[in-house]
């Protein structure tokens, strides 16, 4: 029988695990309790279920299909700015959804660049609202994610194989067939699945670009049942359907094996001898330029349109910004502490937590929390604390993904030494875990702060006119057609999200 290394504190880890389970379990129990019978699904609810599935499948396939050539181009080319491009592909992950929507509207919307071009050419304009708009926004977020996941796959092919292929005189076609093809067959299902899971719980995108009977996701239907009809039983029933959907998809993912890991895409450069012809070069250069433009242009438009009003934003925007900062910092502290405690009790949380995190939707948790709180006090009074808590829960899987492997490495390298010296609790934390892991902790804190800063989910359920986070305020300004102010507030949100991420990440790496 082998003994495990001594964790920081076994009871703290176990208590955290229990607390997390309770925080997830209680709202779900509340939802199940309030949901009135299974017969209650109306035609609109079935339409929402159908739309949720259709848009998630489409988003996953389009994102991955486009990511394959982009990742291949990134993998086989070396050029100045390649590292920056890989980094740029990581940006949408921490980009607030509402900011991305603002940017996409500025490019693809009614008064956007694309329609301006079409109009100048005398062609009919395009509409961004509806299914294709929702899919477009999801591709904007997930094409970069898929590119990074697949780039990881390319980096996993040993350099020697490419050398051997070059020696055998293989061209791009043969390399695709013998090297890249097998890798893709192994990696594509995981990438598809992860994006499908993410899109199943799409709320903010559907809220802004979808809507109506033909483009409503389940999450959006929960929100509408809540806000417009104030039909708690129906919201709870829909939440239950959403839960069943994501949990069964998550279980399929578990059955199929690994869900693709996040992060990665180190920007490793592998020497390649194939695809050197000018045609291939032009193809890859064009693909990379398009991908970069697709990500950069909306961001640039937000900056461009927001800059003029940034200095003269109405006071409620600054109030919301302050509230958001508070929520983000509180949620980050909770999330990182929980991740460290969980990583110290079990080393294999990563996989399970990753799937759980994708599967549990903030709207379901929010509905449950509302049902629990409502009889006691006005839920609006607790809007910000509940948002911070749910944000911490939602960011926990990502933080665990970063922290758990580093924790395991630290314990593997130094755990026995610390054990013989009797280093436990605070001493172990201060003299072993923190100095060894500050880079990972900083990165995890940055992720969690940015995710919380940009989250537009639970707060939409809970808030009253008095209270708002910055993303909600941006959404309200958009709804009031105050697009100038919305652009300025959007830029502020963008700066705060990226700023918080950069600050934590830098703080962790500094002197490490």
């Amino acid at each position: 029988m082998a003994r495990r290394a001594v964790p920081i504190s076994a009871w703290a880890g176990a208590a955290t695990a229990a607390l997390v389970l309770m925080l997830v379990g209680l709202p779900i129990a509340a939802v199940a309790w309030r949901a009135g019978g299974w017969g209650g699904l109306g035609p609109a609810d079935w339409a929402a279920l159908r739309f949720t599935l259709v848009q998630a499948v489409l988003s996953a396939f389009v994102s991955v299909a486009l990511a394959v050539p982009v990742a291949r181009a990134l993998a086989r080319r070396r050029f100045r700015g390649r590292g920056a491009l890989v980094l740029l592909m990581g940006a949408p992950f921490i980009l607030p959804v509402i900011v991305a929507i603002l940017g996409l509207l500025a490019v693809f919307g009614r008064g956007g660049i694309l329609n301006g071009l079409l109009d100048a050419l005398g062609l009919p304009g395009i509409q961004i609202y509806g299914l294709h708009g929702v899919v477009l926004a999801h591709v904007f977020f997930n094409l970069p994610l898929a590119t990074r996941l697949l780039l990881q796959g390319w980096e996993s092919i040993p350099q020697e194989r490419f050398r051997l292929a070059a020696n055998l005189g293989m061209g791009p076609r043969e390399i695709m067939r013998y090297l890249e093809g097998p890798m893709l067959r192994e990696r594509l299902p995981a990438a598809l699945l992860v994006i499908f899971l993410i899109c199943l719980s799409s709320f903010a995108v559907a809220l802004t670009l979808g809507g109506g009977p033909r483009a409503t996701t389940l999450e959006l239907a929960i929100y509408q049942a809540f806000r417009f009809e104030f039909d708690l039983a129906r919201a709870a029933l829909l939440a239950l359907v959403q839960l069943a959907l994501v949990v069964s998809a998550g279980l399929v993912a578990l059955k199929l094996g690994r869900v693709a890991a996040f992060g990665a895409g180190r920007g490793l450069i592998v020497e390649r001898w194939d695809a050197r012809g000018p045609g291939y070069r032009a193809l890859d250069a064009g693909l990379l330029a398009l991908a970069a433009l697709f990500v950069l242009l909306p961001l640039a438009m937000v900056a461009l349109r927001g800059l003029p009003t940034l200095a003269s934003l109405p006071p409620q925007v600054w109030r919301a910004a302050l509230a958001s900062l508070g929520v983000a910092l509180a949620s980050t502290a909770l999330c990182v502490a929980a991740a460290l405690a969980l990583a110290s009790v079990r080393r294999n949380w990563g996989e399970m937590a990753g799937i759980l995190g994708l599967a549990i939707s903030p709207l379901v948790l929010g509905t449950g929390a509302f049902i629990l709180i409502n009889p006691l006090i006005s839920p609006a009074a607790l809007a910000l604390p509940v948002t911070a808590l749910v944000n911490a829960l939602m960011a926990l899987p990502f933080a665990l993904r970063v922290i758990a492997p580093e924790y395991a490495r630290t314990e593997r390298d130094f755990g026995r030494l610390a054990d013989t010296l009797g280093m436990r609790g605070r001493a172990r934390m201060r003299y072993l875990i923190w100095p060894q892991m500050r880079g990972a902790i900083g990165f995890a804190a940055g992720l969690s702060a940015a995710l919380s800063m940009g989250d537009l989910g639970v707060i939409a359920l809970f808030a009253d006119p008095e209270r708002a986070t910055l993303p909600l305020e941006v959404y309200r300004l958009m709804g009031a057609y105050r697009m100038q102010d919305a652009a300025g507030a959007g830029l502020l949100l963008l700066l705060l999200s990226f700023g918080l991420f950069a600050l934590f990440d830098w703080g962790g790496r500094r002197g490490a």
């Binding site: 029988m1 082998a2 010296l421 280093m423 001493a427 003299y431």
Partner: protein, 232 residues
């Protein structure tokens, strides 16, 4: 009162190790045997990283089988990774006195004395990366010194050093063990080191740790398991 292995059986997957013997205090004992036979496992058992399936480990008559590594009468030096790279040499050694680095003035002086004893005077504020391999081993030894535990367990501690440096370190350990009257258990795969350093030898082979024998005796007439290991 000795370090007693009382009918100990340890199982790790399909690997198992049995030990039923005792080690006399204040002796320097080498643990040798083919790789994979369980030399390091035996040390991990003594240091408390592994708990046996059956049997008892006793020190001076007291059962220590269930004690955590930090609570055992054992100071350990590993093959590598003996120092935390992010802490200074002083801090690394001071952890041996107090794992939360809260030291009295007298204890600080003791740490400095230990550094001096192993020949690292003036190196206390350096980081491990700024030390040579030999100096890193000395720092680890200084910590074992201040830990002041009766048993010193060394798991191929100087394997990364060249022959001359290794001999020097072994002599230093022998001196210090003599001064402190420590019981030393050292895993080694080099018969020359064993002859130079150890008074007794424990052979670990075929899933069993044999009782210690005098070094000179055992090399004069090696048992079957050791003969196969040493080769012609």
């Amino acid at each position: 009162m000795a370090l007693e292995f009382d009918e100990i059986t340890l199982r790790l997957g399909d690997f198992s190790l049995r030990a039923d013997m005792q080690i006399v205090p204040e002796r320097r004992v080498a643990v040798i045997g083919p790789s994979g036979a369980g030399k390091s496992t035996l040390l991990a058992l003594v240091a408390g990283f592994l708990v046996p399936e059956a049997g008892q480990l006793r020190w001076q008559g007291e059962d220590i089988t269930g004690l955590s590594p930090g609570a055992r009468p054992v100071a350990m030096i590993f093959q590598e990774g003996n120092l935390f790279p992010h802490l200074s040499v002083y801090e690394n050694v001071a952890l041996g006195v107090n794992p939360a680095l809260k030291l009295s003035a007298a204890q600080k002086a003791e740490v400095m004395r230990a550094l001096e004893r192993v020949g690292l005077r003036g190196m206390d504020s350096r980081r491990p990366a700024q030390l040579s391999g030999g100096q890193q081993s000395r720092a680890a030894l200084a910590r074992a010194l201040v830990q002041d535990r009766p048993i010193l367990a060394l798991d191929e501690p100087f394997a990364a050093l060249g022959p001359a440096l290794k001999a020097e370190m072994l002599d230093l350990v022998r001196e210090i063990a003599g001064e402190r009257r420590s019981t030393v258990l050292m895993v080694s795969h080099d018969p020359n080191d064993v002859k130079r350093f150890a008074e007794e030898v424990v052979v670990v082979a075929d899933g069993r740790a044999a009782a210690p024998q005098e070094t000179a005796e055992i090399f004069a007439d090696p048992p079957e398991a050791l003969r196969a290991y040493l080769g012609p």
